[in-house]
Symmetry: C2
Subunit: 730 residues, 2 copies
């Protein structure tokens, strides 16, 4: 189960496949749009996207949306602040036979395709389109293949293989199209096309003062190649003879920042060689993270789709992080959220600790931005942005989130701590990360309040992860995360006065409770009943899209887990009775309008032994990107939910305990009934193991690193590198 498939062309699902089929590596990501444009789908329509409640925002209805993104290339938007820039579309590869151009789905007036199939091979990252096209009385078979190289920085390789029932000339047009916009806005200060030797180059200077050079070359066995250049587009045009014997053409494209010229085409190997090295490199990636699931093909494919995007979307450097849509769309403007720490870090820290460290280092690099945010709000220290650009500057145009969703600043520190515990990289916390921990702690000192008459410390005017309660007092999630961050700061601070102040505030912060029930916030009992029966007629769409925002904001409806999220992240801090009380209270009110919701719920459900409900959340998580009929990844991949899928599988069904809870690798499987077996690698405090769960049996193989203790079902055993152990039955 390694293949995602799109059969035929349906305008209703096309955009979802474009997002789902996004390919990329490091500095360049391209959406899975066809090499041929969809007729009528202009990509440079000017419009102004507006700030909106994110859950109820309606996106423009379009059949096709190109996207080419270079992480870190941001430009200013007139009302929405900095956004990631959509760059010139580099994948154009058109085919014309007898004056008829092949279209997506293959249909046009003169030609029609009986067979049009696209397949994304998750294992290699190759997207392949097969078309059988009847044009001018001939049968033409075309196979397009493409991938973004994970070996050669910025390289995109494309190939078309052609056969025809009788000999004919196939006209190829392979170019770069700069007639694009970002959310309707034009970020290009200048666009310069040119042809130099084998390359057509397109230099774009953005309004964020980046220079991005795209260069493409066409290699084929056909007639001499012509150049077509105009102000916003450039392409090679050539005619290749097709017939019963297969003809081929290759397009090589580089997308890179800066003015470095592309290499000599001779230094770029042929497609087959590029493909071979791609396969090998991708295999190494999969070896680090693949989660094998036996007995349930749907789960296996969904798991791998999530892992594919997690492998792809990491920029492989610390100058940027992974944006909320995994460089596969513009829905969240390419910005960085708390998703990084809460949903993505666990996956990377347990599969590729080096990549996890880069995500943490991004927060260190953007400390100056966080300081600027704090200053702008009138505070000392550092305040991380709810929606961060590459500099760490707050870009969220909606004040309710920007002003109140302060938990991100504590989440950053939580991420550091979790990373340190999971990887054993204590040096990071005491070294690079230390200043972030102290500076954010200084911000909290100014941000907390006291009330006359009680000795407590309060955090007021806060929005928790549940964004349907916009302003609240003593949000439990936030208070607990802040208290933990301050406790860590107290341990790291040199200054005795600061140690004392951080510690005192950490101790003074509290959780509102009613018996066993941890309250989301002090206002929880004041909120109204949401009356879902009456006000949420269409459960296939979000609740937020069907009610007024004021109804959302004044009632107990929850966008996502909030107290449950806290319990999922810090399970050891709460008793079973507390978790059960929270489940009873909050689940009936939770809309799961957020894609971040199912993951946390599944973890808590499993803790409570609610296996069936956990399964339902797992299925819900699967559908987020794969359910193309409900939008899926149309506006980008739900990359945090991909991380949550891994958490559901490994923390959830395999029952691996959080590194915050225990230093001993602890496994307590509770596989879904239909899963026969589950196998995955895991990094744990500097060691690498492979875990296999099958029947009642758990097998752990130690591959590399220092010896470690493993606890399965209460039985602890010690393993050295090269050794393996098996626990059976229960």
């Amino acid at each position: 189960m390694w293949t995602l498939e799109q059969s035929g062309f349906d305008p209703a699902t096309a955009k979802a496949f474009e997002g789902l089929f996004t390919q990329g590596w490091s500095w360049v990501h391209v959406r899975g749009s066809y090499e041929q444009g969809v007729p009528g789908e202009e990509q440079d329509a000017a419009y102004e996207r507006r700030a909106a409640n994110v859950t109820s925002e309606k996106f423009r209805e379009r059949v096709s949306k190109w996207g080419c993104y270079v992480p870190g290339v941001f430009g200013p938007h007139p009302t929405l602040n900095a956004e990631m820039v959509n760059l010139p579309w580099p994948l154009e590869f058109r085919v014309v036979v007898d004056g008829v151009e092949l279209e997506p789905g293959g249909r046009s007036e003169a030609g029609s395709a009986d067979h049009d199939l696209r397949r994304l091979d998750l294992r290699t990252g190759v997207l392949r389109r097969e078309v059988q096209w009847c044009v001018g009385g001939r049968q033409v078979e075309l196979v397009f293949e493409r991938f973004v190289s994970c070996v050669r920085e910025g390289l995109i390789a494309q190939r078309v293989k052609m056969k025809a029932s009788e000999r004919c000339g196939v006209e190829l047009v392979a170019g770069i199209d700069a007639q694009v916009r970002t959310n309707g806005h034009d970020h290009f200060e200048s666009v310069q096309f040119g042809a130099r030797g084998a390359w057509i180059t397109c230099d774009v200077r953005t309004d964020g003062e980046d220079l991005v050079r795209t260069a493409c070359a066409l290699r084929h066995d056909g007639e001499g190649t012509q150049v077509e250049l105009d102000a916003r587009r450039g392409a090679w045009r050539a005619v290749v003879e097709a017939g019963p014997k297969e003809a081929r053409a290759e397009k090589i494209t580089f997308v890179r920042r800066g003015e470095a010229p592309p290499p000599s085409p001779r230094d770029v190997p042929a497609f087959d060689e590029l493909l071979r090295e791609q396969g090998e490199a991708m295999q190494r990636e999969w070896d680090c993270c693949d989660v094998e699931i036996e007995g349930d093909e749907g789960s296996q494919l969904a798991m791998r789709a999530a892992l594919y995007h997690l492998i792809r979307a990491h920029p492989r450097r610390s100058a940027v992080a992974i944006d909320a849509k995994g460089y596969a769309g513009e829905a969240y403007w390419g910005r960085f959220f708390w998703d990084t720490e809460a949903y993505l870090l666990p996956f990377y820290m347990h599969t590729r600790p080096d990549l996890a460290r880069q995500l943490c280092a991004f927060r260190v690099h953007t400390l100056e931005g966080a300081r600027a945010n704090a200053r702008r709000y009138g505070y000392a220290g550092a305040r991380y942005a709810w929606e961060s650009d590459h500099r760490g500057i707050e870009c969220c145009p909606n004040w309710q989130y920007a002003d109140h969703e302060v938990h991100v600043t504590a989440d950053v520190v939580h991420g550091f701590e979790h990373y340190g515990r999971a990887t054993g990289d204590e040096a990071f916390l005491k070294g690079e990360a230390r200043e972030v921990v102290l500076e954010t702690a200084r911000y909290w000192l100014g941000r907390v309040s006291r009330r006359a008459g009680d000795g407590r410390v309060h955090l007021l005017g806060v929005m928790g992860p549940d964004e349907y309660t916009p302003i609240s007092s003593n949000n439990s999630y936030t208070n607990r995360m802040v208290a933990r961050a301050l406790a860590l700061a107290a341990r790291l601070a040199d200054d005795a006065g600061e140690r004392e102040r951080f510690g005192a505030v950490a101790r003074g912060l509290w959780l509102p409770r009613a018996g066993d029930l941890v309250l989301q916030c002090e206002e929880w009992p004041l909120l109204g009943e949401p009356e879902f029966e009456r006000s949420w007629p269409d459960r296939g769409r979000t609740y937020a899209a069907q009610v007024s925002q004021e109804r959302l904001y004044r009632s107990k409806c929850l966008k996502q887990a909030d107290v449950l999220m806290l319990m999922a992240m810090l399970p050891h801090e709460f008793s079973d009775a507390e978790v059960a009380a929270a489940w009873r209270e909050y689940v009936p009110y939770t809309t799961h309008d957020s894609s971040l919701s199912p993951g946390a719920h599944a973890l808590v459900a499993l803790r409570l032994g609610r296996q069936e409900e956990a399964w339902d959340f797992w299925l819900r998580g699967q559908g987020l990107d794969l359910d193309v009929s409900h939008g899926g990844a149309a506006e980008g991949v739900h990359i945090a939910a991909c991380g949550a899928m891994w958490q559901m599988a490994v923390y959830g069904f395999a029952g691996v305990k959080s590194a915050l809870e225990t230093e001993v690798l602890t496994i307590g499987p509770r596989l879904p009934a239909r899963w026969k077996a589950m196998r995955f690698p895991l990094c744990w405090r500097g060691s690498r193991v492979r875990v296999e769960i099958e029947g009642g049996r758990v097998r752990v193989e130690h591959e590399d690193g220092p010896g470690l203790e493993v606890n399965v079902g209460g039985q602890r055993r010690r393993l050295r590198a090269g050794a393996s152990e098996e626990w059976s039955g229960r």
Copy 2:
């Protein structure tokens, strides 16, 4: 004390005088800008005003801002919704001597003015500028006069009188300048200048599909007149001989909606005749409302300045109401707020009941808009807009106000009830207004909530008049006003089921309390301490301009009276102990960032016998428009605060009880020590009386209408028309 004065020209205060000197009548209002433009102050700079927290919005720093407004002419704004359109500037009247143009302040390279004085005569509405100008070695005396006729619809009369120490030609340029914008936005779809006979016409078609025609003519004794026309400007140019004998020129301008041609210039009387009829008409206006204050010239002038704008700003028809800046600026986009009912209606209902009825009728006319608002939020019935355009459509671009400040819908009904009680016009309530009362009641039925476990009715997700608590539960002001509106609806409803439902909700709504203290809302105890000492260094500027919005929103700082406002509007519903408790609790937290704040506070202070504090609030109210060094009326007149000045004087110092409290005209003076006497007319349930308070003595003269009972100091007497009574001593 009838004259406001500006001596010399100071760029720092110029814009404040422009607002303060606004003239107008009915369909046309013009800001008090000089007839000559301020050099360098272009009026057509393009920029995008953004939605902002209204108290912390920074306006563009400018020396001069023209404004010409026709009530009801609105155009769409790309991000801010409909706004009142700033129309072509009709007052241009330039003077050139020896090639040197007279400027505001008179200074230019070649000429200088030793004396430059502007005076607005509140009694007649005439603005007069006297200049002594030394130019080319000559002494030139110029007197400009202008007014907007309150007799002839849309007519603006201007005159210049000229004398020179030796004979010289004075070049006059009198035109219409359409090089203007509204908040940086161009609302003119087309501008057409033309010259027909004596008139230069300027036809503007706005993007709101209004046609406004401005036409001007120049009358003088000088040389033949030339026409200058270009795309966005048109002017008459003429040379008049000046010398020791006074020369004169008159400019007549009409600003009108629609295509009707201006009258023949012969049918427009000469300036002196226009001035005479103006004086007479204005005298009739003053007779209805003047509040004479003896012994305190500052108070007298401030009172009359407020009354002048109240006389001026009423559009004299019910198709529109009075916008928040009294047609004297663009700060609130020309929109209609609850100010109408809470601050303006009491003045009009007790001085000009016919004009009060028009304000009420505006709400009746815009019921369709209110229904549309309710539908948009998913409710039945009618929901009045927080920021209403002429159609009643919600235009507020900030969701926190638009979504939550629902009290306006109850305030509208409160206004009707108050109007009915004060004027005795019961027919209005039972007739025209009835559907509004019922439709808004139907909205409330859907808007209230219930909570499990109590029998109460709750109003959640609400912002009260205190806009620094953006979302709260059971705001006392709102709950009480809504309960009253529903109780009225229950009395007016025909349907027994509706009567019962309205009544049940009215009875179920409650006020949160802690002992004698009426809580602003249930969340009040949860809010933090504002720490004014640390966070409000400059008390000369608003608190909101000096702290982050989140600090504002999470602490007990109040923008304006909220519980105190309720007690000021419905004094008889609260005991002295409750009022005293509220005063103690809320006053220390109140920033008075709102211009609506001092009025309500003064009334409550007087009730509590806090005479000195009341006096301070009175002074604060005086300064709102008159204190030009702190901005004053730069962005428009605080017209609601003008209404509050009248309430402070009449309800407050004269101690006239609200018509909601008693049907008997009840007077209990508590004049400031320095006020020797106070005299004012008053309409009371169909009768008109004159009240004179002097020393301990109260004299009431019945001028017109049915007999009425008057209660002074507990002594009731009955008066018939023509009779007067005096109560002395106490």
